[in-house]
């Protein structure tokens, strides 16, 4: 695993859960995008996940779809997002993750993408349409570049497949406790606890939960079971409505980060 990601989880273990904040790269525009990311890290996010906009984001709900579409229309490219990550890396020591769909990575070339990501200071890549069965070539490229892989695990995943997923994780496992795409939800899935227990029994990898988490209360609730919490749509929606003033975004991240203090996985 990348040192930065490993240190992040180890430094807080037993004290609090980590907060991973998502931002659609190039949204609302390239220059502001960097400010958004740095503001979130400054306000208490432990790591950032930069979304590379894709034309057909099947795992994303309306908020991130719309932000991706907007960024694409302004000329966001995978190469541009790698530059963005490099710019963030210059200013911040915390882990930087990229999130993208498989086709842009495949088109870029797996080895080239992994190598360039590491050159730009990226610690890991999240690819939601690359399940463990298809992940072999990407994991080989990532391992060679010393880039962390982050496979997904869902509440519908069988025990056999949790084992397979565990072998693919060199960063952490991205756990999805409710069925659906990214977006804001009213409550945390009642299946979350038993689901994470099942996964925890079968892997040593850190577990981060994403999808549908939008409030400090939800962060705290999820933090009782998971090592990390990933927040996306709620932050992107705040950016979209902010008109360039990032005070509200900082406040939101501070609230979520604060809610995770003293909360740690009891499992």
């Amino acid at each position: 695993m990348s040192n930065r990601l490993m240190e992040m989880f180890e430094n807080v273990r037993g004290r609090r859960g980590v907060l991973i904040a998502y931002a659609t790269g190039g949204f609302p525009d390239m220059a502001s995008s960097r400010e958004v990311i740095l503001a979130m890290l400054d306000a208490g996010a432990d790591a950032v996940e930069i979304g590379i906009p894709f034309s057909d984001p099947v795992m994303d709900g309306p908020v991130i779809q719309s932000a991706s579409c907007d960024a694409l229309s302004r000329g966001a490219t995978p190469a541009g997002m790698l530059e963005l990550a490099a710019g963030v890396r210059e200013q911040a020591k915390k882990p930087v993750l990229l999130m993208t769909y498989f086709n842009p990575v495949f088109r870029y070339g797996l080895e080239n993408f992994a190598a360039d990501a590491v050159l730009c200071g990226v610690d890991g890549v999240v690819i939601p349409d690359l399940p463990a069965e298809e992940m072999g070539p990407w994991k080989a490229a990532s391992d060679a570049a010393r880039l962390a892989t982050v496979p997904f695990c869902s509440v519908t995943t069988s025990l056999e497949r949790i084992d397979l997923i565990s072998t693919m994780a060199t960063g952490f496992i991205y756990c999805v406790s409710l069925l659906g795409t990214t977006g804001v939800r009213k409550s945390v899935s009642p299946e979350l606890g038993p689901f994470l227990e099942r996964v925890r029994e079968r892997t040593d990898a850190p577990l981060a939960v994403g999808l549908g988490i939008s409030t400090p209360e939800q962060c705290a609730e999820v933090g009782r079971y998971a090592d990390g919490v990933i927040v996306g749509s709620a932050l992107v929606r705040e950016v979209a409505g902010s008109g360039g003033d990032l005070a509200g975004l900082r406040e939101m991240v501070r609230g979520m980060s604060g809610a995770l203090i003293g909360i740690c996985s009891s499992m």
Binding site: F54, S55, M59, F102, E133, T156, L179
Partner: protein
Amino acid sequence: MAEIQDDFERAADPALSTRPGYYGGFGGRFVPEPLMAALEELDYALQGVCEDPVFRRELERLLRDFAGRPTPLYHARNMSREAGGAAIYLKREDLCHTGSHKLNNSLGQCLLASHMGKSRVIAETGAGQHGVACATAAALLGLECEVYMGEVDIERQAMNVFRMELLGARVIPVGTGSRTLKDSVNAALRDWVENVRTTHYCMGSVVGPHPFPAMVRRFQSVIGVETLEQFDEVEGRLPDIVVACVGGGSNSIGIFSPFIGKGPTLVGIEAGGVGSSPGEHGGSLCLGDVGVLHGAMSYLLQDEDGQVAETHSVSAGLDYPGVGPEHAYLKENGLATYELVGDDEALEAALFLTRGEGILPALESAHAVAYARRTAETLGPDKRIVVCLSGRGDKDIDTLRERFG
């Protein structure tokens, strides 16, 4: 209908030997994790029903008594004479209930969904033919049906939208992306991720993650199995050329399936649209590159960054940037060839067949008709071409009126 019973064995994929779910290097399951369990469940259920005599008898009965199979293989004498060369036969999928081959697949999948205990089916549709077929099968089997359709397609296929609603289905407009078929697949996939426990996604073509390409092939191979027997009965041999249009590629895989590697030249016709620049056509195999869309590795129209390209065709059913993975395999291995026919030539061919034979073809199918017309005249009278006439053209009346009215 003994031939349908054999259909399942004969449709067994020769190409599926490398890795499960792969055709050579194409296919696979590139989907969000929450769908993986559903795909495994579907694969398991599919294998079960293929061996289940009760299911097979029920599907045979529906194909015969409800869909009207077998569809005729028709020797188009006027068209052959006018083209002046090879004899042309039409496999009349336009005479299948609901007006296209799409019902073969929808009946199979909706029956399977019932067997799996799913109460709801969802579908994507472009021209609306798959949506209508799915709504029809759902009405028959008492399933709730919701169909995702791009706003652009809703506008140009208004009649089919109303047909679906009459059948009790709900049509959900898709306003994201290019607002056409590709985006309605995205929307249906998102719905499936959310409702995977109660819902079956009835995919309309041989695209998507495994087992969809293999399953849709299986249900559509009835076209080819019938054609093989009907042609043999009349001619006592195999045809020289079998031609079909290719959007996602279901009618073409259906008719190709028993002929692959058996001698006949198999030709898939993609939408040449109005030109060869990006956004002017739908030629994934002819003009695209390898990539991943909608859960499968195949050929894809995309830009240098891997963003999926816009497409164009006068026929909504061919207006799609991807293509089924088995077609990519057939192309790479020289087992089938793929060619382009443009909007104008397809429209002319539609008029030619309507005036010459009294058959109004769907504009999708007219692409294959155009190829047969231009090829027949280069061949001797001893040659035989079979065209898959995948659907009828009533839905395209407005487009035809604009052009010829």
